[in-house]
């Protein structure tokens, strides 16, 4: 198990170093960096190109501040900083997805300041409530397909897309299986390792990832149940990049047991399959239009992340929700208004933890998490005591 996990961990620890090494060994292969959220990676795969899911870099932001105001989220600042340092030249193209203004601006910084071939912005029409949404998306997705064909230097055939959809569906199914294993045997895999598995899926060739994942699943399925004392928690947030592993570790070390999540580097990435029959472009668009897991970046009256969060956290058996919010992420802050209200009204305790690119005030976060866990423990103890009192009387 460790050797498989170590491959994933190696990628998680430095995805950019990993892809540099991979490129050296696969010089005939093209790699395109993509903003993963809402992005149909299958199209890139079908073109014979490796899609690399853009991750937040590890380095402190220095040069990037010459190009961007600091009140941008750590992910977009980090992308700009890596562009300023010239680190992204390894890619044969870069396609950032318009899920928020900060990422749109990051893409514009590349166009103007760090030019390299094939810099594109994928702009899927985000208003799902309109009749014109699907026709608009057909235009948006067709344009994207054309851009990918430009990078590949050849057409992307429907049959190739169908094949890629199958490969991606298989990987998603395996990830969901791992997700269920964690849910049924909490603690069998640490949150940081789960994240490594998902991040690696965004980076390495899907076929290789699925093969390794099958091995990992097989080993975990035969593992003994893990007896862990603690509070089951649901992790929510981080729509487009990974939360810091230091925070994940802290949650676990303070007695939190992660039983479910809706993170970008978690369930959100593998929740939805793409239909394998019919027109493949149509199927990719339909996947984009599915509301669950709800998020705030698309518009639809039924798109309610707060209600989804309450329902899913209850179903998972969590006793509390930990919302991980990157500083300056307006999407998440806007979503939080109804999340805090709905969770409170639904009797689900929650805590909001803000994080930054360069970790600050970890001790303050530790105190918050500790207080949250103790509060839930105290409630559970009270409930047991009340139950016993009732029985005795």
């Amino acid at each position: 198990m460790d050797s498989v996990l170590n491959t994933f961990i190696e990628i998680r620890n430095d995805p950019y170093e990993w892809i540099r090494n991979w490129k050296e060994k696969n010089q005939d292969k093209k790699v395109v960096a993509v903003g993963v959220y809402h992005f149909p990676e299958e199209l890139v795969h079908a073109a014979g190109i490796l899609p690399f899911g853009l991750q937040e870099g590890n380095e402190p932001i220095v040069e990037g501040y010459s190009y961007i105001y600091p009140a941008y989220c750590g992910y977009s600042r980090s992308l700009i900083d890596m562009g300023a340092k010239g680190n992204m030249k390894i890619f044969d193209g870069m396609i950032i997805t318009d899920i928020c203004i900060q990422l749109v601006q990051a893409q514009r910084k590349y166009l103007r300041n760090f030019p390299q071939p094939h810099l594109y912005l994928f702009q899927p029409s985000l208003d799902l409530s309109k009749d014109r949404n699907k026709p608009d998306l057909m235009v948006d997705f067709a344009k994207l397909r054309g851009q990918i064909e430009d990078i590949a230097g050849k057409p992307v055939e429907d049959e190739a897309i169908r094949n890629s959809i199958k490969i991606y569906n298989k990987n998603r199914a395996l990830l969901r299986k791992l997700h269920d294993i964690r849910h049924n045997n909490p603690g069998v895999i640490r949150a940081r390792d789960m994240q490594a598995v998902v991040m690696a899926s965004m980076v390495m060739p899907k076929e290789e990832h699925s093969a390794l994942l099958e091995k990992l699943i097989s080993e975990l399925e035969s593992a003994q149940p893990v007896q862990r004392e603690g509070i089951p928690v649901f992790l929510s947030g981080h729509l487009c990049h990974a939360p810091k592993i230091e925070i994940l570790d802290m949650i676990e070390s303070m007695g939190g047991i992660v039983v479910d999540d809706d993170l970008h580097t978690g369930y959100r990435y593998y929740a939805k399959d793409v239909r394998e029959d019919g027109d493949p472009m149509d199927a990719l668009i339909d996947r984009f239009r599915q509301i669950e897991p709800d998020c705030i970046s698309r518009m639809h009256p039924k798109n309610r992340w707060d209600e989804y969060l309450l329902r899913k956290s209850r179903e998972s058996g969590a006793k509390g929700v930990i919302i991980l919010q990157p500083k300056y992420c307006e999407h998440q802050n806007f979503a939080y208004l109804y999340q805090q209200k709905t969770l409170a009204e639904g009797g689900m305790d929650h805590i909001l933890i803000e994080s930054e690119h360069e970790m600050i005030s970890l001790e303050q976060t530790r105190t918050k998490v500790q207080a949250f866990v103790e509060m839930i423990q105290a409630k559970s103890t009270d409930a047991v005591r009340r139950h016993n009192n009732v029985k005795q009387s």
């Binding site: 105001y69 912005l121 014109r132 518009m299 999407h331 806007f334």
Partner: protein, 425 residues
């Protein structure tokens, strides 16, 4: 001891005619309140809005961004508090926070000091919300209002355009959506859309844009008879009084006064020493304060990128092709297109005509749309004209992000660079 208070020396010669615009705006808000009490429709909207389309339908339109500035200018603290109480963090878009906060107060969900008269501070609650999709915060803010107030919203989705090839298809895309928006408005009002009225509104907008272009010409004169702050204080003739017959007349009054000043050699500030270009938005809730501060330093702010928002050129407004003119506005705006295509950037030569000495970049802390483009814009112009730049931090309406000492130091630094360069010549 004199009974008369000591007269405070003023450095900004404010164009007196701009006061009439402020009064007309206040009268408009009063009308909106009165109409709402009679059951007439109120619409709120944000961004580079398609407000003429709504005005022509006879629906009272409130430009949400301007309402935020109004709240800030009236020093009304409760909208911000109501937003924070709802779960907003301070770093999120201040316009959104002020609006959601205002909605909570208007709905009676958050207490406030009743000595404040809400009619003088905000606008009646909307029956509908229009959204221009100029940024993601705008979209989610619209979604939140829809849910919180249980009202319909209408979003016109605009793709960013980065090269000429993308321009025409996107014009068609937005124009088609505007036709659908007309159908939406017809359902909302229960009346057929008044296309003749739209033509009239666009004609008035065209006349107003011509006045604004004349102001740009006046700013090239030395000393400039008005400042950029005077120009900005006329903006409500576009954002609030658009399409109303009094708008171009009020602007004409401003121009006449400026032309009189030119004839008499009177400047927009007491003594013009520096001519500065302003990139980014503005500290809307403290416009007079900023105008005076600049004037006291001997700075005439002679122009800025914000002057190119909201239908800046008369030749781009064809009353016979209103939907095309409306579609052009957001697509051509520098916040949604690339610098080379944006009028304020491709028209950077205006900075040469204005004979600027330097650039101030206003970083609006809570606006990722605007602060995200500022660096490139400043670089674009300064590299072509060789003028120095300074960056200052603030916000549109949230005072928490403005530090006066830091502002003064950075601007003084800019002036010293300009002085040093002049000595070196």
């Amino acid at each position: 001891m004199s009974n008369n208070p000591e007269k405070v020396e003023r450095y900004h010669n404010r164009v007196a005619a701009t006061k009439a615009i402020g009064e007309a705006v206040e009268a408009y808000y009063e009308k909106c309140w009165d109409d709402a009490e009679k059951g007439e429709l109120t619409a709120w909207g944000e961004g580079i809005a398609y407000f003429p389309l709504i005005r022509a339908a006879g629906v009272n339109y409130i430009f949400a961004d301007a309402m935020s500035a109004r709240m800030g200018a009236k020093k009304f603290p409760y909208a911000k508090l109501a937003a924070a109480d709802f779960g907003f963090l301070d770093e999120s878009c201040s316009y959104a926070r002020f609006h959601i906060g205002a909605s909570r107060i208007l709905k009676g969900d958050f207490p406030y000091d009743k000595s404040f008269d809400l009619r003088k501070i905000m606008a009646p609650l909307p029956n509908v919300y229009f959204n221009t999709d100029c940024c993601s915060a705008g979209n989610t803010w619209g979604d939140l209002l829809q849910r919180y107030l249980d009202i319909p919203t209408y979003t016109v989705y605009t793709r960013r355009v980065f090269n000429r090839d993308e321009w025409d298809p996107e014009m068609n895309h937005v124009t088609e959506q505007l036709k659908e928006m007309v159908t939406f408005i017809e359902k909302m009002t229960g009346k057929p859309y008044n296309w003749d009225k739209l033509r009239e509104v666009m004609l008035i907008l065209q006349q107003s844009a011509a006045m604004r272009q004349r102001m740009r010409e006046l700013l090239k004169i030395k000393p400039a008879p008005l400042t950029y702050f005077d120009v900005l204080s006329t903006f409500s003739s576009f954002t609030i009084l658009h399409g109303m017959p009094e708008a171009p007349k009020l602007l004409e009054g401003v121009i006449k006064e400026c032309e009189d000043r030119v004839a008499k050699g009177i400047g927009g500030i007491k003594k013009e020493k520096y001519r500065i270009y302003w990139i980014g938005a503005m500290y809307w809730s403290r416009l007079g304060f900023m105008a005076e501060k600049m004037a006291k330093m001997g700075i005439t702010v002679v122009g800025g990128t914000y002057d190119y928002m909201f239908y800046p050129f008369p030749e781009e407004i064809d009353p016979d092709k209103p939907l095309e003119a409306l579609a052009y506005a957001p697509i051509s705006c520098g916040y949604t297109t690339d610098n080379d295509l944006a009028p304020e950037m491709s028209d950077w030569r205006i900075c040469k005509d204005l004979d600027i000495d330097g650039i101030i970049v206003w970083e609006a802390h809570t606006c990722r749309l605007q602060s995200g483009t500022n660096h490139d814009r400043a670089d674009y112009i300064s590299s072509r004209l060789g003028v120095p730049v300074t960056y200052v931090t603030g916000d549109f309406v949230d005072d928490a992000f403005f530090n006066e000492a830091q502002f003064d130091t950075r601007v003084q630094g800019l002036l010293e660079v300009i002085d040093a360069r002049r000595r070196g010549k």
